[in-house]
């Protein structure tokens, strides 16, 4: 935690310190001793560590803060404490198994990681237009439900860090409502591996549409509660308005996307700009603001949740219309073969599917075997796919060598990119605003570190 870290601040152009101000570096210990020592030495500028184990750093983020009194003079983020080697691991797994790995990157919004990886794979396969409509509707439904969940986590943990625990409990109950639907359809609450190259893993249960329609007012109620709790609260406004300001020039220089860019005034949303999975056919708005501070970002996230609920309602209507349609691409050399169903002991192999492959069709058995053990081959080349994560632009660069395993899959996580703005957001502000700034960036360290 001393000045041996030579990395300069992320935003070039910050005037370097004249070097004359004396500094006192803290290496841990009892805070009262440290404060006493600092007063005795007459130094005012302290360099200390915030994290990686910290209640409010949204994961294992380490921030090296140089503080003069209560003002942050320099803040540097240290990441890598959750680096999992997911990208390298994907190179040793088939394209479908890669989904189960990439889904654990941004674990708050797992469906988006899966979706972008599958979109990249499908681009390489050339089957983007062959994805059945019901599969696209299910993908959009899952993505929007996960978007609501992710924004609720952002708002909830943001409130919790300010000391308002009720905000967190309210937000997480809303999230649980979405989980009931997600669990009914995919089998898992998080890290579902539901969106697979070619479509989605399985079709919905019969009562899915009723469940979705019953869930929407419950989530809307929680969103209303959050808005009522926070948005006019003078303490909330005092702590968030004008804090973590990042204007348009800084956003463009730092490549910021997502709610941070939209709070600076640019209505850039990839769902509208480069629609994927049928987003161009849905009716929704992209909330934008010009205040560019933490308060406007919370407002934007809440409004995006309402817009997502609109999309979810449209998805439910379409699911009803498309009942019985396929959910996987028609090409049997790519489509994931297995079907699951709920039995007396939980979710397992669908007996109809077993009967089909064992008794009725040799080709189906062969396809099942080869697709599950070997996987499908993807023609050589590279592709880039990008979608709108709750946090910003999530991109994937996939390279194939013609085989059944990716040669390279690199994810451009918006949290990784947006976290570079931390120094710009916090320097010159107070230590308490660092917490607010991190909450307003809304990054997930799993995506940042991968």
């Amino acid at each position: 935690m001393s000045n041996e870290y030579a990395a300069a601040s992320a935003t070039a152009g910050l005037a370097d310190d004249d070097g004359a101000a004396p500094e006192f570096t803290v290496f841990g210990g009892d805070w009262s001793d440290v404060a006493e020592e600092a007063t005795r030495l007459g130094e005012q500028r302290l360099v200390f560590n915030m994290g990686p184990q910290h209640p409010s750093t949204h994961g294992v983020l380490r921030i090296m803060l140089e503080v003069e009194g209560e003002t942050v003079t320099e803040a540097r983020a240290g990441i890598g404490y959750l680096h999992t080697g997911i990208e390298k691991n994907i190179e040793y797994r088939t394209w479908t198994q890669g989904v189960t790995f990439c889904t654990r990157m941004d674990y708050v919004a797992p469906m988006f990681n899966e979706a972008v990886f599958c979109l990249g794979t499908e681009k390489l396969l050339g089957i983007t237009d062959d994805i059945p409509e019901r599969a696209n509707v299910l993908r959009v439904l899952m993505m929007e439900l996960t978007r609501i969940g992710s924004h609720l986590v952002a708002i909830g943990t943001g409130g919790n860090e300010l000391g308002a625990t009720t905000v967190m409990t309210t937000a997480f109950i809303g999230r649980e409502e979405t989980f009931k639907v997600i669990e009914a359809i995919t089998g898992l609450r998080v890290n579902n591996a539901y969106i697979r190259p070619g479509g989605v893993a399985q079709d919905t249960p019969d009562d899915a549409v009723e469940m979705i329609r019953a869930m929407i007012p419950l989530v809307r109620q929680r969103l209303d509660e959050l808005a009522l709790l926070q948005l006019e609260n003078p303490i909330f406004k005092g702590r968030l308005q004008g804090v973590a300001h990042l204007d348009l020039a800084a956003c463009m220089a730092l490549g910021i996307t997502g709610p941070m860019l939209r709070s600076a005034g640019v209505p850039y949303d990839l769902r509208k700009a480069e629609p994927y999975s049928g987003y161009e056919t849905y009716d929704f708005a992209v909330p934008t603001s010009t205040d560019a501070d933490a308060y406007s970002r919370v407002v934007l996230r809440l409004e995006e949740c309402y817009e997502s609920l609109k999309i979810v309602a449209q998805c439910a209507d379409r699911l009803e219309e498309l009942k019985g349609a396929p959910v996987m691409v028609a090409d049997k050399k790519i489509a994931w073969p297995a079907q699951l169903s709920i039995g007396t002991d939980g979710q397992g192999n669908s007996l109809d599917h077993i009967r089909h492959i064992m008794g009725e069709s040799m080709e189906a058995l062969i396809h099942h075997f080869k697709l599950v053990t070997e996987g499908f081959s993807v023609p050589a080349g590279q592709a880039y796919a990008a979608i709108e994560n709750p946090k910003g632009l999530l991109g994937v660069h996939v390279v194939s060598d013609g085989g059944t395993k990716p040669w390279r899959a690199h994810f451009r996580d918006p949290g990784f990119n947006n976290l570079q703005a931390l120094s710009a957001l916090t320097e010159g502000g107070q230590v308490a605003d660092v917490v607010v700034a991190i909450a307003s960036i809304d990054m997930v360290l799993g995506g940042v570190d991968r």
Binding site: I79, G80, E274, Q382
Partner: protein
């Protein structure tokens, strides 16, 4: 391997040897169906997998306009700077020589017809088969104004893995270049602070290179051992 079928593509129009570095050899794939030393002969097949061939004019869509504008801005350096143009799966890839990378990026960002405001990071790729140009750095560029995306790819040899840093043009690439240095060992000259970002500071090696092992351990269960994923028998 002396009687292996030589699948190397013949030196005809398909390979179009117009570029100094040549078309990227992604991988040399030995064997099919995971066969190893059996009587089928499938273990001896050797396939040289190249990236798609450079595109011929007209490219189609907005690609022509963009490449024309870029070549005009580069002037007589255009041939040296843009090594090849590949169009595949609806995406434009410009292979750019590293000496001219900064200039190309500046034009891409600043010219009103190009206006690629965002650089979506650096993706490193390691092609050990492509001797002399093993390490590739791929820069996806996004234009909000014109709503389009292209890719700039720079290739460098492992012995001299230096690429000029584009942080002076796209400050957002700061951490992305650090990550690519960390995982591939590509040194970005001019980067304000090129340090490891994901691995611990004293880590040795560049983990995402192909010659770096996955590093897993064998899993033991009731007396049996399942080897680490990179050691197992597997299809490729």
């Amino acid at each position: 391997m002396s009687d292996a079928i030589d699948n190397r593509p013949a030196a005809d129009a398909d390979l179009a040897p117009v570029t100094p570095g040549g078309r990227t050899l992604i991988n040399v794939r030995q064997g099919m169906f995971g066969a190893r030393g059996d009587t089928t002969g499938y273990d001896r097949i050797t396939r040289f997998v190249y990236e798609p061939a450079p595109a011929q004019r007209p490219y189609g869509g907005w690609f022509d306009e963009v490449v024309d504008v870029l070549e005009e801005l580069l002037g007589d350096k255009a041939d040296a700077a843009i090594e090849s143009v590949v169009i595949d799966r609806g995406e434009l890839t410009l292979h750019v020589a590293r000496e001219h990378l900064l200039e190309v990026c500046t034009h891409l960002r600043d010219d009103q017809d190009l206006r690629f405001e965002f650089c979506l990071g650096v993706s490193g790729v390691h092609y050990p088969a492509h001797v002399g140009r093993e390490l590739h750095a791929v820069y996806p560029m996004q234009s909000i104004t014109h709503n389009r995306r292209l890719r700039v790819e720079v290739s460098v040899p492992e012995e001299d893995p230096h690429i000029p840093s584009v942080t002076s043009v796209y400050p957002a690439n700061n951490w992305h270049e650090r990550e690519t240095w960390d995982f591939f060992g590509i040194r970005f000259d001019g980067h304000p602070g090129l340090a490891r970002i994901e691995m611990p500071d004293d880590w040795v090696g560049h983990p995402q290179r192909k010659d770096y092992p996955l590093g897993g351990i064998p899993i033991e269960y009731k007396g049996a051992q399942v080897p680490s994923p990179d050691q197992r028998r597997q299809y490729r």
